[in-house]
Each structure stands twice: as structure tokens, then as C-alpha cells.
């Protein structure tokens, strides 16, 4: 694995850290299994790409606006659930399948290239820094800043209300918290993060594509679970850290799987190898350091 590849893995890992933070917010904090993200990730990509290419927008503004549109998507899902009592999972599915069509409309087709146009990343190239070094650093700073802002938000009165609404809705209602409103803003915020991730990813990938959302929810959830089991925590600060860490580890597992062809594995085995690596990490965590011991024993016998 080259340094270039490792930095590239970090890059994608940080971006999916945002998706993991969103999944943490919905699944863990709000107890709202939100499937909208399969649609809001490509939505962010589509909005950003269309604004940059067709609208000639400043890439920073386009990226920011993509997050705002993502908020709207999440808000709609939560609204369907809160106002019309549609089951949360179904509400998410409905919004994400309609987003598929909407994304095609936004882009005017299934694929909007972002090659040879100004993106938030070209700004650094113009300064003379090599992209493969500066992009992960930039993304790291952005994602950590967003994580800290999220930590701070969840410690405010509003944030506390949101956590209460998820942890014990009845008690929260009894204390005068508008649980429905918390869901609307919370799911909106989670999808804003996901759409932001989509916008950033499209600019790195070189295109927004209608199929970009495939598997995003799985990766987001897996990141949260891997992160949480590796860094079990009671504080929000550690939990959000774990989310980002989980996302990076997941991408690292993919990178290792991509390099595992010398074991006689085929290119199509990547999914399986990734899954096995994630499983090993989880099992290893559960059984304390036993897996680690196995490695040590093996060494002694050599």
C-alpha cells in the first residue's frame, strides 16, 4: 500500500465520517432509523455538481447549499413520520426513492462530470500544494470541526432536548419538549451532514452519479458500530470520535481487501474480505485481547 493510497483512504474515511455522524445522530441519539441517506448522499453530490457546472456557482457556496438541500430531505422524512404517522423506515425509503428521480432531474441525466472545473479542492492546488497531501488534511480539519460543533450543540439546551426526545420520548414530552420538532431538526441535520459528505465526495471522485448512494447506509451504520465497539464510551465527545474512527477503519478494511489479491482472492471478493475484516475487528474487541494473544502465540511458535 503506497502512501498515496493510505492518504486516499483517509480522505474517503473522513468524508464517510460525516455520514457516520449523521447515522449516529439518527440511529443512536434520536432512535430514528433513517434510510433517507441513500438518497441524500447522491442528492448532495447532484446539487453541488449541477450548481458548479450548470449554475457556475462558487464551489464553496455550492457545497454549502448542498447541505441545506440535504437538511430539507431529512426534514421531509421526519415530517412524514411526525405529521402523518408513516413508519420512520418507510418514510425514509419513500423519500430516498423519490430522491433518485429528483437527482436525475437536478443533473439532467444520471451523471454530471466534475472534471476540469473549479472545486473546493482545486483552491489548494492553485496554492501549489499537492492535492493528495492537502485534501485529507483539509477534510480532517473540516470533519473534526464539524464533530466538535456537533458535540457543542448536543450539550446546549436544544441538544439536550434532542437527546431526551430520543432516549425517552414520554418523559421528554412530560417535561415540555416538543419531540416531533426535535425529530424534524435532528433528522434534517443528519441528512445535511450526509449531503455535505456527498458533495465533497463528488468533487473528489470527479463526478456526481445517480448510483452514488448505493450502500451508504450500510457503510454509515457499520462505521458507527465498529467505532463504538472499538471505543466504547459514555460521553458524546468520545462517541462522535468513535464514529469518525469507525469510518476510517472501515475504509482501511476496504483498502486492505483491495490489496489482498496475492492471497489468491479475486477482485470480486472485496466485499467479502471487507466484511470479514470488520467482523474480526468486532470479535476481537468482544473477546478482549484474545485475538491479539493468538497473534502473539503464533509468533512464539515461529
Amino acid at each position: 500500500m503506497s502512501l498515496y493510497e493510505i492518504l486516499g483512504t483517509l480522505e474517503t474515511g473522513f468524508i464517510f465520517g460525516l455520514v457516520a455522524l449523521g447515522a449516529y445522530l439518527t440511529f443512536k441519539i434520536l432512535d430514528f432509523p433513517d434510510l433517507t441517506v441513500e438518497g441524500s448522499f447522491p442528492l448532495g453530490a447532484a446539487v453541488c455538481a449541477a450548481l458548479i457546472v450548470q449554475g457556475d456557482w462558487n464551489p464553496w457556496a455550492a457545497t454549502g447549499f448542498a447541505a441545506v438541500v440535504g437538511f430539507g430531505a431529512g426534514y421531509v422524512t421526519a415530517y412524514l413520520n411526525v405529521r402523518f404517522n408513516i413508519l420512520h423506515i418507510l418514510a425514509g425509503i419513500l423519500v430516498s426513492i423519490s430522491l433518485y428521480s429528483i437527482n436525475l432531474r437536478i443533473m439532467g441525466g444520471p451523471n454530471e462530470p466534475l472534471l476540469n472545473v473549479k472545486t473546493v479542492f482545486t483552491a489548494f492546488e492553485d496554492l501549489g500544494y499537492p492535492g493528495y497531501m492537502i485534501n485529507p488534511a483539509f477534510l480532517g480539519i473540516v470533519v473534526i470541526a464539524i464533530k466538535l460543533a456537533l458535540d457543542a450543540f448536543l450539550a446546549t439546551g436544544w441538544g439536550m432536548s434532542m437527546r431526551a426526545a430520543g432516549a425517552n420520548p414520554a418523559m421528554a414530552e412530560a417535561n415540555g419538549i416538543n419531540v416531533g420538532k426535535m425529530k424534524l431538526y435532528g433528522v434534517g441535520l443528519a441528512n445535511a451532514l450526509t449531503a455535505l459528505a456527498g458533495a465533497l465526495f463528488a468533487q473528489i471522485f470527479g463526478a456526481a452519479d445517480a448510483y452514488m448512494g448505493i450502500g451508504v447506509i450500510i457503510v454509515g451504520l457499520a462505521s458507527v458500530i465498529v467505532g463504538m465497539s472499538i471505543l466504547p464510551s459514555r460521553t458524546i465527545f468520545l462517541a462522535t470520535t468513535a464514529c469518525i474512527l469507525g469510518a476510517i477503519l472501515y475504509r482501511l478494511a476496504v483498502a486492505v481487501a483491495l490489496n489482498a489479491d496475492f492471497l489468491g482472492l479475486h477482485a470480486s471478493d472485496v466485499q467479502l474480505v471487507t466484511a470479514v475484516l470488520v467482523m474480526l475487528a468486532l470479535i476481537g474487541q468482544q473477546s478482549g485481547s484474545s485475538l491479539f494473544k493468538i497473534f502473539k502465540k503464533g509468533k512464539k511458535n515461529d
Binding site: M1, S2, G8, F205, A207, L258
Partner: protein, 325 residues
């Protein structure tokens, strides 16, 4: 955490040791595809044959790094990073998104894309001729004009043809635009019937029954997955079903003229071979496959066509390269 890091390190070390063991004078070829479907596997096979024609054989004087993203774009992005990080002599991306991820990542390593329907729209190149960049390649736009001529010959009263497609696929949309244009020149109008998922294909087909004289199934993975169901409906109501890809004929479509994807791959492989021999991609014109290959596949399925109410004249039989009984 420690465990995973350890596993990751072992993996990284082992792959490093492996690459270091390779002979230094071997050229490195990197091929990736977004997903493995028969046409794309044929393309890959053809690429290796084309490279061999130019004297480059895997294991002898080139090493091959082949990766499949399994339909997952973040994985595709990581494959791009892996390729570029290993600094190969050439990268050959199969399909549009794969090519975009590679082109976004490097302006130095030569890239020969293939199985991309419209490389200009995908912004991989800005012109087919002499683009001056590190990118060139092969477009797999279908020879739709030739197909329509054949269908008109087989169905004399052909005035309206049904077109089933997934509006989310670039190549399906490109085919729709071309079939409309080519149809106009031949007095054939096109009736669209969208099917965004495989489950909706049957309904989309039934909608066309009685309104069109034939059905055209473009090279669209979503719709092609349900080709069997379309063929069955066609046989039930005597409605000929044609495919944009000849591979569909063995599965029950009546006939097709098409690109042989092994041929498309060969054209790509030869270009890649020239680049390995020192040619610059920026001075090599990108190629539209149907203009570059001398032989097309003319595929007919006699048994299935008969059930759709079609028989083949001697002239068509003589031209056929792939006959399914």
C-alpha cells in the same frame, strides 16, 4: 483497534513484499471496472488479447492489477487511489464512472478508457482528435443505424418501435437519443417505456403491447436483467423483441447487430499496447468502436423469432454470424 491495525499492517506489508518481488522491467497495467457483467468481462478479455497482439503478455512482460468496485463508488475511488499510488505504466478503466474517478486522480499516468458511451459528455476528453492530455480511449456507442435497417428488413411494416429503459443509466439515455434520430431518418418513431428497476420491466413491456410493431431493449443492465420476461411477453403476443446487444439474442431476443465487446476490448488493448511502446495518449485519437471494427456481430435466434411471428430471409441467414436455433 490494535487488532485491526495489526491486520492492516500485515496486509500492507505483504502486498509491499509482493510488489517488490516483481521484476523491475515488467510494465505495470492496471484495469478496473465498476461491476462485472458479461459485456465488461468480454471487454477485459479483449483488452488482454489486444495487448498480446502488441507483444505484451501478462506474466511475461507485463503485470496486471485488476480490480472490481462491485458497484460501489467509494470503493471505486479507493481503487483509483490504489492504482495511482502504485504508479502503473497505464490505467485502463472500463465504464464511465470508473474512468471519471481515474481521470480526476491523475494528469500524468496514461489512461485508456473503454466501454464509455459518450466520453465527451462524461468530460473525459474534450475532443476525439489529438486532445493533448494523458487520456484517450474507446467509445462503445451502439451501431443503432445498422440495427434499425435490419429490423426494418425483418418487420416490413415497422413504423413504431418500443424502447424499454432505465432513465437512470447514461448509456440507455444516449441510445434513446440516437435511436430517435436514426429512427426519424428511416420513418420509425420511438415509444418510450421507462423502468427504473428490474421489477418494473414487465409492466413497462405490457404497456407497449398493441401500440408498437417491435420492442427494442437497449444495452441497459437494469432492463437486460429481465430480458427473459420481455421475451416471454413478445412470444405470447407475437411481438418481435430486439436487443441493442447481441448477447441478448442467445437469451431469446429475435435478432441484433452489435459490437462484439471482445472486439471493443481488442481495440482498447492495441491502443494501450502502442502507449506502452512509447506513444503519447494526447496524440492518439479516441475511437468510436463501431467505426474501428471491421466485423460486427449479426445474431439471430430462429426458434424464438418464430414464436414471435418472424422468419429470416436467406439474405439475413447468410449475413448472420451467431445463429441460435
Amino acid at each position: 483497534m490494535k487488532n485491526l491495525t495489526k491486520i492492516a499492517m500485515i496486509g500492507a506489508l505483504a502486498s509491499f513484499a509482493f510488489s517488490a518481488a516483481q521484476a523491475a522491467d515488467m510494465k505495470k497495467v492496471a484495469i478496473s471496472t465498476i461491476v462485472e457483467v458479461p459485456a465488461l468481462l468480454d471487454t477485459k478479455k479483449g483488452i488482454l488479447e489486444g495487448l498480446a497482439e502488441k507483444g505484451f503478455v501478462v506474466g511475461k512482460n507485463i503485470t496486471l492489477d485488476y480490480q472490481n468496485a462491485n458497484g460501489n463508488m467509494p470503493t471505486q475511488q479507493q481503487i483509483a487511489k490504489k492504482f495511482i499510488g502504485s504508479n502503473p505504466d497505464i490505467i485502463i478503466p472500463i465504464t464511465t464512472p470508473t474512468a471519471q474517478a481515474m481521470v480526476a486522480g491523475t494528469k500524468n499516468i496514461p489512461i485508456v478508457f473503454t466501454a464509455v458511451t459518450d466520453p465527451i459528455k462524461a468530460k473525459l476528453i474534450n475532443t476525439y482528435k489529438n486532445n493533448g492530455t494523458n487520456v484517450t480511449g474507446v467509445s462503445d456507442a451502439a451501431p443503432i443505424g445498422a440495427q434499425l435497417d435490419l429490423y426494418k428488413e425483418l418487420v416490413p411494416g415497422l413504423k413504431k418501435i418500443g424502447f424499454i429503459y432505465n432513465p437512470g443509466l447514461d448509456n440507455a439515455l444516449a441510445a434513446l437519443a440516437v435511436i430517435k434520430e436514426q429512427g426519424k431518418m428511416r420513418g420509425i418513431s420511438v415509444m418510450e417505456s421507462p423502468a427504473p428497476t428490474t421489477n418494473e420491466v414487465i409492466l413497462a413491456t405490457k404497456k407497449l403491447v398493441g401500440k408498437v410493431e417491435a420492442i427494442y431493449v437497449p444495452n441497459d443492465t437494469t432492463v437486460v436483467s429481465a430480458l427473459g420476461a420481455i421475451v416471454k411477453i413478445g412470444q405470447d403476443v407475437d411481438l418481435p423483441v430486439f436487443t441493442g446487444e447481441t448477447g441478448g439474442v442467445a437469451k431469446g431476443a429475435a435478432a441484433s447487430i452489435g459490437l462484439d465487446y471482445v472486439e471493443v476490448g481488442r481495440v482498447t488493448g492495441r491502443m494501450a499496447g502502442d502507449i506502452l511502446n512509447g506513444a503519447k495518449p494526447g496524440t492518439m485519437n479516441a475511437i468510436i468502436a463501431y467505426e474501428a471494427v471491421s466485423k460486427f456481430k449479426v445474431a439471430i435466434n430462429i426458434g424464438s423469432a418464430k414464436k414471435m411471428g418472424l422468419t429470416f430471409s436467406k439474405s439475413v441467414m447468410d449475413r448472420a454470424t451467431d445463429i441460435t436455433k
